[in-house]
Symmetry: D2
């Protein structure tokens, strides 16, 4: 049937198109063969053409940003991507789901299953706790089937994506001691968003390195929730994020004690098996380790590791582009599954090098 070969494009909207994840969604969706972008919202830039906010998009899309109106979005779009700040998504997401829209939320508002965790880590009371059970954590490598059927996707945070993909195979097979996990991540500056502030001012961030959010970064409970699910027992991690002077990229190094001696080759074999059929995870050969430049602007996650017999520890390294696999690309990957498309539609693009 002809309609199957060239199916009608899905009508999608982006709420919060004026930030970096919004712009990145748009960049990916205007090239996506199965999508028609029908609406963009941006509170503070309402009535501005999106190409004025992002001149890179001039000639590719000429939508005008409008104020956020869930009813109007629901009338036009089948799928809505929410690229709103944390806390702003809760109500909008709940409203849209009620109206029958399928929602992909890029904020943290539906990522944690336990409403109490929002109090502890985010300092607010969740407004739609009943949806936390239904929302699916949008990491397709772990939750492909639930994503396909979901009404509401909580797209993972950038750091958690790299940490969870980096360490799940070892926990799933009981090969590492879950009491000993230390996660150090380094991120480019775009992860902090588009709002100008002193720590992300060029002259402050350039040529500098720092750690931040030590012991209290909000991605910690997300990592622990998912790794606990994989391990089948509670996992507590020490997660320390760092900022380095580049625009895009996250490199995550995970160190843990091995449950017993295993060679690098054996462990890599476990990873390859775990990620079989998962196109967007590339398990590197022994002797190679990921570099963020090799996944820049792609939806890939590269993973490599070393088993250190001397110390009985494993060191796993994973790399992603924080705005693609760490945010907007992952959202599109989830959308593809929800829409019954090839998971790789519009996303099967090699990295930009150099």
């Amino acid at each position: 049937m002809t309609t199957e070969e060239t199916p009608r494009p899905r009508r999608v909207a982006i709420a919060g198109a004026s930030g970096y994840t919004g712009a990145e969604l748009l960049r990916l969706l205007v090239q996506h063969p199965g999508v028609e972008v029908v609406a963009l919202t941006a509170e503070t830039h309402a009535n501005q053409p999106i190409s004025q906010l992002f001149p890179s998009l001039a000639g590719f899309v000429d939508l005008i940003c409008r104020p956020l109106d869930p009813a109007a979005l629901a009338a036009e779009a089948e799928f809505v991507f929410l690229a709103l700040p944390h806390k702003a998504s809760m109500a909008v997401g709940a409203d849209l789901v009620k109206r029958g829209v399928r929602v992909l939320d890029l904020s943290a508002d539906f990522r944690l299953k336990d409403p109490a965790a929002y109090r502890t880590w985010y300092g607010f009371e969740h407004l739609a706790p009943s949806l936390l059970g239904e929302a699916v954590y949008g990491l397709p490598e772990l939750h492909r089937e639930e994503i396909a059927a979901a009404r509401l996707i909580a797209v993972p945070g950038c750091y958690p994506t790299s940490a969870i993909l980096g360490f799940s195979p070892l926990l799933a097979r009981g090969l590492a001691d879950p009491e000993t996990i230390v996660i150090d991540s380094i991120s480019g500056v775009s992860g902090a968003g588009r709002k100008p502030e002193l720590p992300t001012h060029f002259s402050e961030a350039n040529e500098s390195l720092k750690a931040y959010g030590v012991g209290k970064h909000r991605h910690t409970p997300e990592i622990e929730q998912e790794l606990s699910g994989v391990a089948g027992r509670p996992v507590t991690v020490t997660f320390t994020p760092h900022l380095a002077p580049l625009t895009r990229g996250i490199l995550t190094t995970i160190t843990a004690r091995l449950a017993g001696p295993r060679s690098t080759a054996e462990l890599l074999g476990v990873y390859r098996e775990f990620y079989r059929g998962r196109s967007f995870v590339r398990v590197l050969e022994e002797g190679r380790l990921p570099e963020t430049k090799h996944v820049l602007h792609s939806n890939l996650c590269d993973v490599g590791l070393v088993s250190d017999a001397r110390t009985g520890r494993v060191i796993v390294v994973s790399a992603i582009d924080n705005l693609v696999k760490g945010a907007s690309g992952q959202a599109v990957q989830c959308f593809n599954l929800m829409a019954g498309l090839d998971e790789r539609a519009g996303l099967w693009i090699p990295g930009l090098f150099p």
Copy 2:
């Protein structure tokens, strides 16, 4: 007819795939709907899989590099892209053309019409001077029809692309004094290629600015040749290239005396008319000027200008990605025309931002 809808892909090869322009060609061509890449050559990396040289391409292409053998290439490929060093292309290009292959040469070896200019600017005697007349300068915005029919394309240099596109409309209409043209360009470091040398060593190039090749840069005669063609009279320019600490991007600022008073709006109107139907040149609105980040990783050239009534001069600014519109993207654009495809096939991709 079915074959029109899904035409057989063109068989293409890349000679010199181990450098940045080679890798960029490959990145673009593996995503191109009308192309099959059949062979890659790389002298010093013969027998290595290309994905080992460029891990970003792992999973997208698994060709093995081989030594350069024109006869073998001619047997397999209809089109060959030469991403070889200057001077190495001359003989190979001539050989391939003789064998009936259509050649797109990214080196300088066929760009200058005057064989004597090679002696003056490059310090060598041209080996195939007879081909200099036939070779077409591959700037589609100026030479679309000749490119479509050509056997041999000399893909322009990165600086010339930005300078020629930036200033041609004014000369074509006689609006600027051709005796007064000063061109200052700033380039990212990838323009210098992949060979490690002290000036492109990270710690030397980072956090520094410099001019180089002052008064003798080899792109000068190329700029003058093309601007002279447009102006219909000899044009001499002062061209000064600069190096800045970024990977990709060229920004070119061209200053000249106006032949008579014209407002910024009038001049922009001239540019818009000149580039009507040229998809890859975006003429910006009055009050806006190009930034390289807005064209990063795209085949676009953004152009803006200011008419300065106080001094009677015009200042034109143009921006490109040196590896795309300044090299490999432009080559693919020429290929599209030669192959009878839409000029934008495989290239109609918005910039990566941020």
Copy 3:
């Protein structure tokens, strides 16, 4: 006499210590053998220790910022450096001078001799036009004696410093045509100050190049005023500033038609003679051109040039650290002259490399 050998340090204050030029003044002055810093003001950070604003200074200075009170400053300090925003300095400077304090103003408020120029270029009416005649333009290489005797110094802008030092010798000797001067400067981002804004947000400025202020940058009249003084006739220039992704450094390229044929060696000879006894200008040998990294963190200005016989033009390149020779270092150099100290006191420091 012992007191001559170890003279009592001069009591100085900095008004506006919370910006980059304020911090840079402080960094230089705490190491200066002839200075005691007695007070710092910073409106928005009053009552905060300066080492909280600039942790790099912790252990070196523990002054608390206070609100700006000219009377209090005059009671304590002999010299006051004003690192205030444009327009804020006018009244404060005039007040302090009246109180007998010697003032070094790093803003533009006293740089232009012609009050009307403030209306045209800055859009405000000058409040102390009578002081414009008295204020000395603080470029010691041109105005050493007047600086030594001055009550009020207008410390030059960063771009003008590099442009004026770069081109004065040619105009002083009548060797270049003053109708043909094109100045293209490239600056690091710190020149834009410490206030976070979108264009200086890391992810926007990093990996990008742009021109700005084209045809209307406020440093233009300052350059023209000083070059006119040197030339002994009115000089009009086209000045285009550019932004590149580095923190510190300005590279300025000046192109002009030579009045008659002169070799590079001859012109360099003229520069060497012009700058004899000027320690902070290094005229490079033929064949070498400045790089900003070679003057990083120093008070030096490196100058090199090429005479291009083919076009009859000269291309001069100069490099400075915008926060040192382009602002705070130059202010300290002026202070040294005013205080009767060796011009190099506290400033004779080689660049930081790499």
Copy 4:
């Protein structure tokens, strides 16, 4: 006595002046009030003025590099700094010591006490094992008295400096479990030296992050040796170095299980006591963590920490400039102690910010 007040400067030489640590030594020593630099050696640049290799030094020092001749050096210099590659220092250092010169070696050749460790980690047989016992590990915060009396100093590696200073107080007081130490360091690119190679080519290193030397970096045994000494028992660590796109700076994050519950404030108190009288270590207040930009170009090491009650772990962060406190500055600090000067002579310089 007058001679005490202005003592004759010590005659020092630098062997291996053409690399980054050599240049940095020279930058520090030409400003040092108690030093006269009498000779520079640089094999591959013999007979070149040093200011041609490092134009930043032009005007400050005009020595000519010569080939390395220990006898000649011993005749002229009391102190020789060896900034030679690993393995090249062994014989030269031994020779110079025998001739009565006091030697500060910046290579790894005398850092490890156990000759067998050179076999394991460096793959060579040590040529002067008898000197390993005598050589003093040049970390003044731990070994001040031995350094003052030493003939031969092994200046610590850059990573070890930050790791050892970061973690010693906890081990010295038995507050952390030495079986659980995970050290992740991030370094700027200058640590890799001045030799151009692909991984430090600008376009490869810029905008990328990677780990390297995982499980086998040669700084590991050095860290373990010193931490074991402090702990009074064998300490094994997992040390993973990372490369980020900046020129200077090392940030080290150390995670370990606490022996028992201690608040952040308690632990910071321990650090303050441990480093009392150590001018170059700044222990930050609770709530603040180091950034490399705050120590850029200074000889300081900033240290901060967080006690994470939730996980029972401590996270310590330390920051240094790899070329100053991580190499040349530390060498000068050792020299000051050996020469009986104030430890801070020529080194008491605040960081360069921004």
